[in-house]
């Protein structure tokens, strides 16, 4: 038992470098998310932690034990795959019992299976085959199967991505509760930033085989260390910085205040930017407004601003109407320009 320590992991598949020097510490009992776009190496990293792949370089330690080349069978890690990999010829109960057979007496297995089914709320479907279960139920059977052996670490590879949006949100909660209840060290791979922010104690943002930033969801959202993280988690505007052309400023749409020309407040901190409305998108509790700055001093691309529904009533959100955008300095982030250029060159979104 103990924390997982991952040091200097490199992994290549032919000429493709999947992981380039991963350094990571995962605390015991915590819920950690590996987050990143597809191809960033997060699944490869999970497979290396699971022992399903071997790294070219680097080590994986569990506590003080070096487990880098330990086969998966010897690790006591539970794994839930994206496809669930439930055995189609075994019932839900038999799937859960699969790993227990021969490791404890028959009666104890039966009790354990019942416990597990109760834990994931599936007592009624124990005799059904995977094909007779809904996606959410299959997912929970896979989870129960993985935790039935009381593993030291639970590994989840995009466990929710195959589900409908509604089911996904519900299972998100259940998964978190279960993890808290069992206190089991959990690592989940996901490409969905919302999933990572809502579920994890610690989020590891990865890009092109490297770790961009690791931290709590709040840290990542408020103080993204790179333009990539800023852009990948939530929405953000990149603007010319007053620090000079070598820098770029960034601010999230909800931190920009939009004012009509009649209710301009006396100068607050930060900048004031007049801009023409291009398009306003209704999103229920707020509008996301896209505006083109009137004096495009270096600023070509539109700026996104969130306007609450109640505030929007006071404003005139017609196309071509001019609003004054207030950009508070306390909420503005600054990055060297080279980082943004690198990121925009590298992303395909």
């Amino acid at each position: 038992m103990g924390a997982l320590t991952i040091a200097g992991i490199h992994k290549s598949f032919g000429p493709f470098e999947a992981l380039r020097g991963i350094q990571l510490n995962i605390e015991q009992g915590k819920f950690t998310c590996l987050l990143g776009p597809s191809g960033c190496g997060k699944t490869t990293l999970l497979r290396i932690i699971a022992g399903l792949e071997q790294p070219d370089r680097g080590t994986v330690h569990l506590g003080s034990r070096d487990i880098t080349f330990l086969p998966p069978a010897k690790r006591s890690f539970g794994i839930v795959f994206q496809s669930y990999a439930l055995f189609p010829n075994l019932t839900a109960a038999d799937n859960i019992a699969y790993g227990l057979k021969g490791k404890m007496p028959r009666r104890q297995i039966k009790e354990k299976v019942e416990d597990m089914l109760r834990l994931v709320g599936l007592e009624s479907v124990d005799g059904r085959y995977p094909a007779q279960l809904s996606g959410g139920q299959q997912q929970r059977v896979a989870l129960a199967r993985a935790i039935a052996l009381s593993p030291e670490v639970l590994l989840l590879d995009e466990p929710l991505s195959a589900l409908d949006a509604k089911v996904r949100v519900k299972l998100r909660e259940q998964l978190c509760l279960l993890q808290e209840q069992l206190g089991i060290t959990t690592i989940m791979v996901t490409h969905d930033q919302e999933e990572a922010l809502t579920m994890a104690d610690q989020v590891i943002v990865m890009n092109e085989g490297r770790i961009e930033q690791a931290g709590t969801p709040q840290e990542l959202y408020d103080r993204p260390r790179t333009p990539f993280v800023a852009d990948f988690i939530g929405a953000i505007n990149f603007l010319p910085s007053e620090l000079g052309s070598a820098h770029v400023a960034a601010i999230r749409p909800e931190h920009i205040a939009a004012r009509g020309s009649d209710d301009l407040l006396p100068e607050e901190d930060g900048r004031l930017l007049p801009a023409k409305i291009l398009h306003a998108e209704f999103r229920g509790s707020y509008y996301r407004v896209s505006l083109q700055p009137v004096h495009p001093a270096g600023q070509q691309s539109p700026v996104l601003v969130d306007v609450s529904a109640s505030h929007a009533q006071k404003l005139d959100l017609r196309r071509d109407a001019v609003l004054h955008l207030q950009l508070p300095a306390s909420r503005t982030l600054h990055y060297p320009d080279a980082q943004l250029a690198a990121q925009q060159g590298g992303r395909g979104r």
Binding site: I22, S83, A342
Partner: protein
């Protein structure tokens, strides 16, 4: 693309630092599981070497070595190329193969199309009739043709003179061979083309239609491209099978020699083993080349069908359906007529003079065959072949597909597993004589026993069941074994509890394939059967040779009967399994 993640990299992880990489790799030591995997794979390779490579080497050796053991170089090949008779056989074989292909492939395509793209009823019956030839030895097609179009045939004599005219064709010779080969290769081409037609994307047809394409344009721009690879495979299979077949030319070939009959004459008639080896190499080369072409071309196939493809929807059309009915009935009738003629001939006293019913033809005691023993020998051999072949092919597919060590050994085993598809049975039979009849070979004692017959059949029919098993194993979720391993479940338990149950339909299919083919084959076993181990298919050849055509017909009927029985048992068993497992197949 330098981002801040530099801080996460270790100081030692500079690019191009090979020694570190090397050290890390070496640290991954093989555990017990890896050793067991490696030993199993090496054992498999050893078995494949014994079944295929070593016998073939013995065959090659024979073609290049004199009687006294000295190296002969290309002497025998020169003898061969200087013999006008043998060269004529080569030309004949190419001609037969070419004609068979250009007749059988379009006929099979029409039927596959009629069954895949129309709404006619009774498709399964039409299909069953079209597949009938698969259950019969190729000699039977020849025998059937003799009873229909021979000197005393039903059709050639105008239904024994009931019709005012006769319909005679010069059956014995190339025409008879070509018709037999068309019948023999038709079901194979039909199966390939049906599969190709069944995986088309209807969206493409809809797109073509909305863009104003007519029927012909749709056929040329959508249908043909989508079945291109199937067509190529069908052409190659038909050409190869008819090029190497022995049974039909033996029965209806008359004086028209082909390579397969030549080789038989060289080996059995003249005991000229070296020339026999040369002919069998000549026989194998085109087949192997065609096979490699097919593999290279069809490798590109994957991309055509995506998961978004929608199945073909047949629009109602009465005229088209009427044509389809007509054609499918014609094919079914032709197949049934052929089989019917053989069955009737086997039940009649003296064709065509005394048409009274008799079962005496099924009494083989006085025939060249000697009782029913050959038939039971064949059944026994087919059962052993099914058992040994299914176990071996499934295990090898499993090992090649699932083991993680010794990549090169797995690739070599895979190649050796698919190469038998291209090897003519006669070549395998001859190669087995050379290899196993060598007193220096420790396996020599199996020569002339059931064991060598079963081994030859397993090698001969190895590839198709191997691919069936591979496909079935590939369909299983890649992560199953990972899940199992992560729960520390033993390999054996995973294999028996998950792998085998999920592959059971494929395993049954493989066993039936081995059984049926072992029953009908003559080419591989005709050189290998022992004096007291005569086989049904060999008995057909010898009875036909001895002029006992009616008894040959009766023996053919027994073979077809046994095969149909096994097939029906298989269908029944499959239905039971499907029903039992329906809960885990569909929702």
């Amino acid at each position: 693309m330098k981002l801040e993640s530099e801080t996460t990299a270790l100081p030692s992880s500079l690019p191009g630092e090979r020694p570190v990489l090397y050290r890390a790799k070496r640290r991954f030591r093989w555990g017990r599981a890896e050793w067991i995997q490696a030993i199993s794979l090496l054992l498999l390779l050893l078995v494949m070497m014994m079944l295929i490579v070593l016998p073939l080497l013995a065959l090659f050796r024979q073609a290049f070595v004199n009687m006294d053991g000295s190296f002969a170089g290309l002497t025998f090949f020169r003898t061969y190329l200087e013999s006008p008779a043998l060269l004529q056989s080569m030309r004949n074989t190419v001609f037969v193969s070419f004609m068979t292909t250009i007749i059988a492939v379009p006929l099979a395509f029409l039927l596959a199309y009629a069954l895949a793209r129309t709404n006619i009823r009774g498709k399964s019956l039409y299909k069953a009739a079209a597949l009938l030839p698969l259950f019969a030895p190729t000699m039977m097609h020849g025998i059937g043709l003799v009873y229909l179009f021979g000197h005393q045939g039903i059709i050639s004599t105008g239904f024994f003179g009931w019709l005012p005219f006769e319909m005679r064709i010069p059956l014995y010779g190339k025409i008879g061979i070509i018709i037999s080969e068309v019948i023999y290769t038709f079901p194979q081409a039909f199966l390939i083309l049906s599969a190709a037609l069944s995986i088309s994307d209807y969206r493409l047809y809809e797109a073509a239609e909305t863009l104003g394409a007519g029927k012909l344009r749709k056929l040329v721009t959508v249908t043909l491209p989508s079945i291109k690879y199937g067509l190529i495979s069908a052409v190659i299979v038909c050409a190869t099978l008819s090029f190497t077949d022995f049974g039909a030319p033996k029965v209806v070939g008359g004086q028209y020699n082909v390579l397969a009959t030549d080789m038989f004459k060289q080996v059995i008639g003249q005991q000229n083993m070296a020339l026999g080896a040369v002919v069998s190499i000549m026989l194998s080369i085109p087949a192997v080349v065609a096979f490699i072409i097919d593999r290279v071309i069809t490798r590109k196939q994957q991309a055509y069908i995506t998961s978004r493809s929608t199945p073909y929807m047949v629009k109602p059309s009465r005229i088209r359906d009427a044509w389809a009915h007509g054609y499918a009935s014609f094919v079914a009738l032709a197949m049934l007529l052929l089989l019917g003629a053989v069955v009737i001939a086997s039940l009649i006293k003296v064709w065509p003079y005394n048409l009274t019913f008799t079962l005496s033809k099924y009494n083989f005691t006085d025939a060249a065959a000697g009782g029913l023993a050959p038939f039971w020998n064949s059944v026994k051999m087919a059962l052993w072949t099914a058992l040994a072949g299914t176990c071996l092919t499934f295990m090898s597919a499993y090992l090649i597909e699932h083991m993680r060590v010794l990549r090169a050994v797995r690739q070599a085993s895979y190649f050796l597993s698919i190469i038998p598809l291209a090897l003519p049975g006669l070549a395998i039979g001859l190669a087995y004589i050379f290899f196993f009849n060598d007193p220096a070979n420790p396996l020599h004692p199996i020569y002339g026993t059931m064991v060598i017959l079963v081994l030859a059949n397993v090698a001969h029919f190895y590839s198709v069941p191997f691919m069936t098993a591979t496909t079935s194993l590939k369909m299983m979720d890649r992560e199953f074994s990972s899940v199992s391993a992560s729960m520390n479940v033993s390999w054996l338990r995973f294999f028996t509890r998950i792998t085998v149950p999920l592959s059971l339909p494929a395993i049954l299919e493989m066993a039936v394939y081995f059984f049926v083919n072992a029953m009908v084959t003559v080419s591989a076993v005709i050189f290998l059967y022992g004096a007291d181990l005569k086989l049904a298919s060999v008995a057909i050849v010898s009875m036909d040779d001895a002029g006992d055509t009616a008894k040959a017909a009766a023996m053919s009927v027994l073979i077809v009967g046994a095969n149909l029985l096994v097939r029906l048992a298989y269908e029944g068993l499959s239905a039971v399994i499907r029903k039992k497992t329906s809960a885990w197949r569909t929702r």
